[in-house]
């Protein structure tokens, strides 16, 4: 790391705080992934890493390089955009595979699937 000593103290503190926050959130997400019991609960935990975790680390990166190079460095925005746009694709694939399994087996989370009837029968007719 060259030029690190040129970084003013306020920026260094802020960058360090954001990096810790981001990595902490990502760590929490992985702990949640291990701790939660069912598939549908587990799906939620890594979202901490893709939103708060990635967000804080990317803001830290933007701040660090912008202050160091004395010009706005913003291409991290692109990473954010691509993460946000691509996560739903994998999530939907996984969630739909899981729900298909539960419906065909009629087991597992099937007791916790009120949405199953809700989507397919005429019970929830929506707004009139």
């Amino acid at each position: 790391m060259n030029g690190l000593e040129d970084l003013p103290a306020w920026a260094a503190l802020l960058v360090a705080f954001l990096l810790l926050l981001g990595s902490g959130l990502t760590l929490l997400g992985t702990i949640g992934l291990a701790r939660f019991k069912t598939f549908y609960e587990r799906v939620h935990a890594p979202t901490l890493g893709t939103t708060g975790g990635a967000g804080a680390i990317l803001i830290a990166s933007m701040l660090f390089f912008s202050v160091l190079q004395s010009r706005p460095v913003l291409h991290e925005v692109l990473i954010t955009v691509f993460v946000v746009v691509t996560t739903p694709v994998t999530l939907m694939l996984l969630a739909r595979a899981a729900i298909y399994r539960d419906r065909t087996e009629g087991t597992g989370g099937a007791s916790g699937l009120p949405g199953d009837e809700g989507v397919n029968d005429g019970e929830h007719t929506g707004r009139e």
């Binding site: 939620h44 939907m92 989507v119 929830h124 707004r127």
Partner: protein, 161 residues
Amino acid sequence: MSRFLPYPLLTASLLVMWLLLNSVSLGHILLGSIIAIAASWAMAALQPDKPRIRNWHLIPVLIGKVLVDIFRSNVAVSGLILKGDRARRTPGFVVIPLTLRDRTALAILACIITATPGTAWVEYHADNGRLLIHVLDLVDRDAWIELIQTRYERLLREIFE
């Protein structure tokens, strides 16, 4: 104009992306524009639906709301993970009837629901407009339906329909 620039929004986004990845200079603006226009012609050959944005001024409102919600649910889900099994969680599914039909708007809603920790988009039935989502801490089912419908769906409909 529309023949030359079939997808002005796409062309502009590609140019911005090119400039972010390289540096802002006259040469890169020219090169980026050429590439962006060529790419939008290629896109036109695929003939996708063209999103129509009716209310540009509401987009920052939407982004603001989403950022606030992402922050709040990050805090909420972190709390749930830290408490672990000591806290009583009530995960569950919610069926949300949607009147939103615009495909781009639905795609954006999917990104929003997925990007907020604690809610996950599971399934959408295009024929009856019912969306199935999974909520990590489901306290009040009707409150969630109300939340998605008034907070996001109405705004997305104002922007796109």
